[in-house]
Amino acid sequence: MDVILFLVFAIIAVVCAINVVVQTHPISSAVSLIGVMGSLAILYLLLGAEFIAAAQVIVYAGAVMVLFVFVIMLLNAGTETRKGRSLMVQVLGVPLLITLLGLVAFFVQRLYPQATVHFGGFRGGTAEAIGRALFTTFLLPFEITSILILIAIVGAIVLARKELE
């Protein structure tokens, strides 16, 4: 059962990710990216990270992707025109990426050959546990993050506003 669930959502994620790269229209890429994020949220849920799964759906699939779709529509982005790609990327890109994937997969297989995931085997990812860690151990990073978001808001407004005459 675990294997079937994992395979179903892993395949959805990979197919959607390939679609993100292959589609030529930005809106199609954005919708595929929402598919990746949704299936990843379900995988997080299976790994016991219920708070992160909810945050993934709300923050990523909700807020960030709405921002993307909004900008795509605002700029009226059309199908991209193919031209002038670097020769080195064209020749070396795919073989190097496949080598990278092969190396990572090889070392990952050697890392924990026996360890398995039993869905429901870890229940420490509740909102309570996350909140407790966030406001004790990770209090300083949390506060710094809030300042970072404030800076990002101000920066985004300054960058995107109309120039005053």
Binding site: V20, L40, F68, L97, I130, T145
Partner: protein, 102 residues
């Protein structure tokens, strides 16, 4: 076999990351390049959550949470930059935004 090996999760994460790099290198639309970066961040988040499961610790979830927050901030600023670039140059093709190249 009823249980999923941990390495499958990590391999899935690696596949998603490489697909993100692929999009970053091969796509020419600046918005799609940006989406590829989001894809890579998601892949890394999956690794964090998997290791949080493996070590039965909540710290990995916190790292994933911070990555998510920073990604949201980055998306807001990045899309504002894209708006500015489009306003100044009327193009979304990153090959035509090359004034720092020569």
């Amino acid at each position: 076999m009823a249980e999923v090996p941990v390495s499958w999760f990590l391999t899935l994460s690696a596949i998603l990351f490489v697909l993100g790099v692929c999009g970053f290198l091969f796509r020419r639309n600046i918005i799609t390049v940006f989406m590829s970066i989001e894809l890579m961040l998601n892949a890394v988040n999956l690794t964090f959550i998997t290791f949080a499961y493996q070590f039965k610790q909540v710290n990995g979830h916190l790292y994933a949470f911070f990555v998510m927050v920073v990604a949201a901030a980055e998306a807001a600023v990045g899309l504002a930059i894209i708006l500015t670039v489009f306003k100044n140059r009327a193009t979304l093709n990153i090959d035509e935004v090359n004034s720092m190249k020569n």
